[in-house]
Subunit: 325 residues, 2 copies
C-alpha cells in the first residue's frame, strides 16, 4: 500500500480553508497541520492548528506545504523561506513580479534540494496553460482573455478606501458581445478596458455623500477611469444577503489560421461558484505532481508549464491511457 | 544559433498535407522529406517526395517523423516499425486499441532508444488532456464530451457502402440544449446517443430508391439506429459545392462540487474550420516536445499525458513565464 501524501497548509484564509476541503476529497492525501501567524482556536476538519513559528519542527512530517497567503506581503517572504525547508505549492498571482519571485524561490529551493511550484491556480495557472497551448498549436493567431463575472479583491479594496464607504464589492463583467465575436472567428482588436465592465455595489456610511463617492470611484485612475463603471448603492442587509459569495471565472481564447481562410479556435473557460475553493482544488492536484517530481530528484522552482498533466492524477498511467485518452 | 528540428512526414493525405503547412508556420522546424507508398509527382511545398521503402536511409537526416496514416491499417504496422528507427509522433485514434498500440510502439521505441508520442491530436489528444485535468482538479464530478458540428469519416463511409449511394457525408451535431444545461451546472445524466444528432447528406445514384436508402441509414445498428438521424438527398452539384469542407470541433466539460452547493465548471472547446489542418498543427507542436525529450535521453512510448506544455513552445522558459504565465 502506498503511503498517503502528507500535506501542510500555511495560511488559513479562504484559500487555506478551501485546501482543507480539497485534501479531504483526495483519498491519497492526508492533512497533517495548518500553520498560521494567528492563534487558531480550531479548524474546520479538526486537524491541528500550529503556530507558524514552529514550522521547522515538521520537516520530516510533511511532504508538501501548500502556501495559501496573499502574494503582496505573505508569499514574497514565506515562499523562499519555506521552500528552504519543504516542497511547496503556492498561488503567487502578481503577474508582473513572477520573474523576480521565481528567482528567489528557485535559489532557496535549489539550496535545500526541495521542489517549489509557484503561481499555481487559474490565473496564473490554468489560464496561463491555455495561453501557452494556444500559442504553441496555432503559431499564427490572437489570444483573448476575459475575466468574470467575478469579484476582484483589488478593486473592491480600492473602493473601500474611499471616505464614506462602509462596505463595497466589485464585479468584473466580460462583455458578452465580444465573447460572441471571438467565438464567431471575427478576431476583433480588443483592449481589456473595452471588453469588460466594472459593476460596483456600495454601502455608504450614514451621512456620506453618495454623489461624491460615485464620482471618486468612476474617476479613479487604473482601476475604474478607463472602464465603463456602474455604481449601485445598496443597504447593509442587501449587501450581506446578496454579495457574500465569491463567484468568478472567465475565458481564454486562441484564434488563428492554419492556412488561408481556415480559422481554428480554442476556448477554455471556467464558471466557478467559489473562486477560493477552486484555486484550492488546483493547488491540491499540483501538490501530487510536486510530491512525485521531488521524489524523482527534481529541485528548484517550477511552474504549471513544467508539469505534465499525468502527474496531477492519483491514477496509474496505464489506467489513464485506457480510460481518459 | 540552434539548428532547426528536422521533420519528416509519412503519409500524404489530408493530415500529411496539413503538417506540411504547419511546419512552414514554425520557424524552428525544417521539412526534409515526405514519405508515401504512392509515387508522388510533387508536393505542395516542393519538398522531396520519397518512396517509403527508402525511409531507413534518412535515419541521420530526420529528428522527428510525423506519422499521418490512418489508424486502422497504416499505423498499427508503421507505428512500431518506424519507432524502431526514428523519434515519432502519430495520431492513432482508435480509442479501444490504444493500450495494445501503446505497448507495441513502446517495445519498438525502447529497443531503438527512440521516443514515440502516440495518439496526439484533439480526440484523443487535447480533449483527453481536459478529461484528465478536470478529473484531477475536481475529484468529485461528472465529465461530458460533445462532438461537432463536424464530419465523421466512419459514419460517412458507412452510408457510402449502401447500395444506390453515390456520395454521402455525415455531420455529428451536438444538441445545444444539453450543452446549455451542462454550462448552467445542471449536471444532467446524458448518453452520447441522446446528446447528439446525426445529419446526413446523400447523393443517390440514378434510379436508386431513396426511401430504401433512408430506411437503411436510419436503421443501421451502432451507427444510426440509436440516434435521431436526419437524411437529406441533394444534387451532385449541391453536394460538391456545400459539403467539401471538413469542419469539426466539440466540447469537454468537467462539472463538480468542491463543497456542498459550490459547483465548479471547466469547459474546453474547439471550433475548427479544418479538422485535418488542426490535427496537423497539434502534431507539429508535439514534435518539438518529442525532439527535446529525446535529446534528454527519454525513450519508449509516451502520450500527451506525459508532456509538459512548456515543451510545446519554441520560446525560452523564462520568456514564457514573463509573457504568458
Amino acid at each position: 500500500v502506498n503511503q498517503k501524501i502528507r500535506i501542510g497548509i500555511v495560511g488559513y484564509g479562504n484559500v487555506g480553508k478551501g485546501v482543507e476541503k480539497a485534501v479531504l476529497q483526495n483519498q491519497d492525501m492526508e492533512l497533517i497541520a495548518i500553520f498560521s501567524r494567528r492563534s487558531l482556536k480550531n479548524t474546520q476538519s479538526g486537524v491541528p492548528a500550529v503556530d507558524i513559528a514552529e514550522i521547522a519542527e515538521y520537516k520530516d512530517k510533511i511532504d508538501v506545504m501548500l502556501l495559501c497567503g496573499g502574494s503582496a506581503t505573505d508569499l514574497v517572504e514565506q515562499g523562499p523561506r519555506i521552500a528552504g525547508m519543504f516542497n511547496t505549492v503556492d498561488s503567487f498571482d502578481t503577474h508582473a513580479s513572477i520573474p523576480a519571485y521565481y528567482q528567489s524561490v528557485d535559489e532557496a529551493a535549489k539550496s535545500s534540494g526541495k521542489l517549489a511550484a509557484i503561481s499555481v491556480g487559474w490565473d496564473p495557472g490554468l489560464f496561463s496553460l491555455h495561453r501557452l497551448l494556444g500559442n504553441s498549436v496555432l503559431s499564427q493567431g490572437t489570444n483573448y482573455t476575459f475575466w468574470g463575472k467575478g469579484v476582484s479583491q483589488g478593486h473592491s479594496d480600492a473602493i473601500r478606501h474611499i471616505e464614506g464607504v462602509k462596505y463595497a464589492i466589485q464585479y468584473t463583467v466580460p462583455r458578452e458581445e465580444y465573447i460572441h465575436a471571438v467565438r464567431a472567428g471575427k478576431n476583433p482588436a480588443l483592449r481589456t478596458e473595452d471588453s469588460h465592465l466594472r459593476d460596483c455595489y456600495v454601502v455608504a456610511a450614514e451621512g456620506a455623500d453618495i454623489t461624491t463617492i460615485e464620482h471618486q470611484i468612476k474617476t479613479m485612475p487604473n482601476y475604474f477611469a478607463e472602464y465603463e463603471t456602474k455604481v449601485h448603492f445598496v443597504s447593509e442587509e442587501d449587501f450581506h444577503t446578496n454579495h457574500a459569495e465569491m463567484p468568478h471565472g472567465g475565458f481564454v481564447f486562441r484564434s488563428g489560421e492554419t492556412s488561408q481562410g481556415k480559422n481554428q479556435i480554442l476556448e477554455f473557460s471556467l464558471k466557478l461558484d467559489s473562486n477560493p475553493e477552486f484555486t484550492a482544488s488546483v493547488l491540491a492536484a499540483y501538490a501530487r505532481a510536486v510530491f512525485r517530481m521531488a521524489k524523482e530528484g527534481k529541485s528548484g522552482a517550477i511552474t504549471v508549464f513544467d508539469i505534465a498533466f499525468g502527474l496531477l492524477s492519483p491514477e496509474d498511467p496505464a489506467e489513464l491511457r485506457k480510460k481518459l485518452l
